[in-house]
Amino acid sequence: MKFGVVVFPGSNCDQDCFYVIKDVLKQPVKYIWHKDTGLDSLDCVVLPGGFSYGDYLRTGAVAKFSPIMKSIVDFANRGGFVIGICNGFQILLEAGLLPGAMLRNKNLHFICKFVYIRTENNHTAFTNFCHKHQVLNIPIAHNEGNYYIDEEGLQELKRNNQIVFRYCAPEGNVNEAYNPNGAMYSIAGIINKQGNVLGMMPHPERSSEKLLNSEDGLFIFKSIVNAVAMRR
């Protein structure tokens, strides 16, 4: 099992993801510079949060032209696991690996706080450690996390069980009062049809240690390790 964490100029959660994988999960991991192209020998690629290229033009819009992105698309098409967190999710949307787009948060401000998300689909490579409707306490930190997709697209996501996480109350019920950014259908994370590419706005790497007030993020990382082991 080997993880790779992509480093774009402006990524700022790359080292945090690296730390959790190496020091908390105790799994092999390496950095992948955005000008590199090879992803051989990797089982899972992490697109970390941050402000790739300063988020100039539009979040993720410049990063999708980085040399590494072509390799990531190929890697995903071959069935490799890809998880995009926050800015990484935005890049996956721009690159067309996931459907939909991000708008600015409804309140037009950056929001950094712990939120609750409910596991809608626990039969994925990223959530097999969770039980159905398990509530995870994980922080968000973004300006553009207001997920949007047209009605047809939303129906398709629902039909295919592609909605993996939705913002919710601590007890698990989904309602607008607990939707921090105005995301459509309270969507916090989605997966592609093939089930190997996940994008999520909350940061599991910020909630994988008791000392950081929540270990719920580990459910996601451990699920990936599990999924890779199952494949072999």
Binding site: P9, G54, I111, C112
Partner: protein, 735 residues
């Protein structure tokens, strides 16, 4: 323009001009004149404050590092480097970019030492929110901090915001940054070794920010002046790349010295690196990357374009260093070399445009300023509290205090800052101090900023000492032992004797307080000329303090943890209402003296609390400060909104006026909560330390109730308290 008009416009006096003539033994060139003006400005050379800054202690319990750009302490194999700096005038003129470049500048001061920046704290002060421009400033400053800090990937973990009339027309934006390095990797801001290369890295140079430090920061505001063009523009994305590239470059071991180009840009970096290294530097300006055409030599030397650094690189290693910066798509150009003649020689197309002995630039004149106690002070210090009517309804008073701008929750602000990136923030904003774990160790550091400028206005010496005492108390409540200080000294025009008297007394107060607590002042910044047309700001010596938590299991927070815990007050209350928030908000008076401060008692209270925390006896600890005991209790109940826990306080001593008991701001008091079984052990520790100890009540329920014997003075639902406290700022901002 006559010669005298030119140098005066640059902020130089007739005497200083004569001194320049004596140094050069000829007329200065325009470039030289510009260089002297910025290096001798208050912002760079501290001519008016240096004589007093020598009073501040430089040693403490931990080994200290005092560098050119920042200072710090040694903690095992690590160096913890930190500094606070002001960006007041730029923020007043252009709040978003002013605050943003304030963040960028202090972050550069930290990573230029080789330390990775791990956290920022902001201490902000504005005029009343009833004025539209002050609301614009608050919004703009917060926007600037989030714009820069979030993108650059350094968490903004704590801070403070106060509102006072005196900051209308001159807001304060003080930013502190903390970094961590391996102690054997600390870099210096110096150049030596003739033949070594001087390398320019980072953004290109433009006309932005020319005179930012000498013109903006070293003069008073006058009405209607157009100073917007002197504010720099920040690019946090470039800074993020610059951090990574610089730390990679420093790890090669090929860097002799490094300095960021902040205030006074290339002038400051060349002259100070040469001066510290006792060598000379020769630079060819044509090689400096530019973003504008036809810049004059003096403009290139004065530019404060952001995100630039100057390196001294070992001869022959230039290519290796250049490649590292090119990897991050950053400029990296050799613009000159180190010489052994001690001169800063600036050439433009091979023609020498400036040639000055480096030391003469960096040794600004020292002035002993006149000082005089302000005439208004004696009358202001007089307060006959018998003329203050006691409130009828204490519930109303408490709610009014909680919805006063300085006491209300700052959640609206800190939720806009990424305070978690880098995954070290163990205690999030909203407790007494931020706590950051140090990865790969079992230790953590706590950090806070503090200054009650109203206390300093009414009693500068004691007010400054209280800032030290309270910052230390905040750290102790987090489980940390106070270790070192940085200060950001914001004052009015030092040429006015009453303002300088405030400065002198505050510095002396800090020095005395730090000596008593064995705390070194490892870095700092002076910001004078903070005036508006109505007068000076309150004297504001903002204290940034770092504490060490030896074992992460000692980390403590301010909110109550569970029902039926015993609530204890350490320390004693006096009948003090002077300078209080209560007096200002409820009675509209800014009068009296700052609260009394007994340094021995303060130390004993802190020692008692820390020992109890370290022994695992304490479930929560919170410092009593603005708003007094009642407000502190509310904060214990509601500041963890996920888990609010009420309290019944039925054993308070009422030896004097009820309002003084509830809202007086007596110092050296800490509220702790603990299990029943821990009470006697804490009592013993208090006894050993001769600290007044009183069980005042118990946690539990969904209300806060405070009794005087059987009479209920306060009875409020937590939900209501939270709504009032947390709702104030968002409501004000949306006006």
């Amino acid at each position: 323009m006559a010669k005298s008009e030119v140098y005066r416009a640059l902020g130089l006096t007739d005497e200083e001009y004569q001194r320049i003539l004596d140094i050069l033994k000829r007329e200065p060139t325009p470039t030289e004149l510009a260089m002297f003006s910025v290096e001798w400005s208050e912002h760079c050379g501290y001519p008016r404050s240096r004589s007093l800054l020598g009073l501040l202690p430089k040693t403490g319990k931990y080994q200290t590092l005092i560098g050119e750009d920042a200072g710090g302490i040694i903690l095992d194999d690590l160096a913890v480097i930190f500094k606070m700096e002001s960006h007041n005038h730029p923020s007043q003129v252009e709040p978003k970019q002013g605050a943003a470049t304030g963040v960028g500048g202090i972050i550069r001061d930290i990573f230029t030492t080789g330390a990775r920046p791990i956290a920022c704290l902001d201490s902000l002060r504005f005029g009343p929110l009833s004025e539209r421009y002050n609301r614009y400033l608050l919004r703009g400053v917060v926007d600037g901090i989030q714009f820069y800090g979030n993108c650059v990937g350094v968490p903004t973990v704590a801070g403070e915001i106060y509102f006072e009339e005196s900051y209308s027309g001159n807001c304060l934006v003080n930013v502190m940054c903390i970094g961590v390095a391996r102690k054997d990797r600390i870099a210096r801001a110096r150049a030596f070794g003739a033949g070594n290369s001087i390398m320019y890295v980072g953004s290109s140079t433009g006309r932005d920010g020319i005179g930012g430090c000498s013109i903006l920061a070293s003069k008073e505001f006058k009405q209607g002046e157009e100073k917007r063009p002197t504010v720099q523009i920040g690019d946090p994305f470039t800074e993020k790349c610059l951090i990574e590239a610089t730390l990679e470059a420093l790890a090669t071991g090929y860097i002799v010295g490094i300095k960021d180009m902040g205030a006074a840009g290339l002038t400051c970096s060349t002259s100070e690196m040469a001066s510290v290294g006792n060598s000379g530097i020769e630079v060819e300006l044509q090689r400096v990357p530019r973003k504008e055409k036809n810049m004059e030599p003096w403009e290139v030397m004065m530019s404060e374009s952001q995100e630039r650094m100057l390196l001294c690189v070992q001869e022959g290693k230039e290519d290796q260093i250049r490649k590292l910066f090119l990897k991050w798509d950053l400029n990296a150009v050799v613009i000159g070399k180190v010489t052994d003649d001690g001169m800063v020689r600036i050439k433009d197309k091979d023609k020498v445009v400036a040639e000055i002995e480096a030391h003469s630039l960096t040794q600004a004149p020292i002035y002993n300023m006149a000082h005089k106690k302000p005439e208004y002070l004696d009358e202001l210090n007089e307060l006959d509290i018998s003329t203050i009517s006691e409130p009828k309804d204490y519930n109303d008073v408490l709610l009014e205090l909680l919805s006063s701008p300085s006491l209300a929750s700052k959640e609206w602000v800190y939720q806009q800052y990424d305070h978690m990136v880098q995954t070290n923030t163990t205690v999030l904003p909203g407790s007494d101090a931020a706590v950051l774990r140090l990865k790969q160790t079992n230790k953590a550091i706590a950090a806070t900023t503090d200054c009650n400028s109203r206390y300093c206005f009414l009693n500068p010496h004691r007010g400054a000492q209280i800032a030290i005492a309270e910052a230390a108390r905040n750290l102790v409540c987090s489980g940390a032992e106070p270790a070192a200080v940085t200060d950001c000294l914001n004052f009015g025009n030092p040429e006015k004797p009453d303002r300088f008297w405030q400065f002198k007394n505050c510095v002396e107060g800090i020095a005395q307080g730090c000596r008593f607590f064995n705390l070194p002042v490892v870095s700092g910044n002076v910001s004078f000329y903070n005036e508006n047309p109505k007068g000076a700001i309150y004297p504001t010596p903002t204290i940034g303090m770092i504490g060490v938590i030896n074992d992460i299991s000692h980390i403590c927070t301010q909110f109550f943890k569970k029902e039926q815990d015993v609530i204890i007050l350490l320390g004693s209350s006096k009948e003090e209402l002077g300078a209080s928030e209560y007096l200002k908000v409820i009675h509209g008076k800014i009068k009296g003296d700052a609260p009394d401060l007994n340094l021995e008692l303060e130390e004993a209270v802190q020692h008692c609390a820390l020992e109890s925390i370290r022994k695992g006896l304490v479930n929560s600890a919170h410092d009593c400060s603005e708003g007094g005991l009642a407000v502190a209790l509310v904060e214990c109940c509601i500041s963890n909104k996920e888990k609010m826990i009420g309290a019944t306080i039925d054993n308070l001593l009422f030896k004097f006026r009820k309002d003084a008991v509830l809202f007086g701001e007596s110092q050296s008091r800490i509220i702790i909560s603990c299990n029943e079984e821990a009470v006697n052990r804490i009592k013993d520790i208090a006894k050993e330390n001769r600290v007044p100890f009183c069980i005042i009540g118990r946690t539990g329920g969904k209300t806060l109730r405070i009794f005087q014997k059987k009479k209920e003075l306060i009875d409020l639902e937590l939900k209501k308290l939270y709504e009032v406290w947390a709702g104030f700022l968002p409501r004000q901002i949306q006006r």
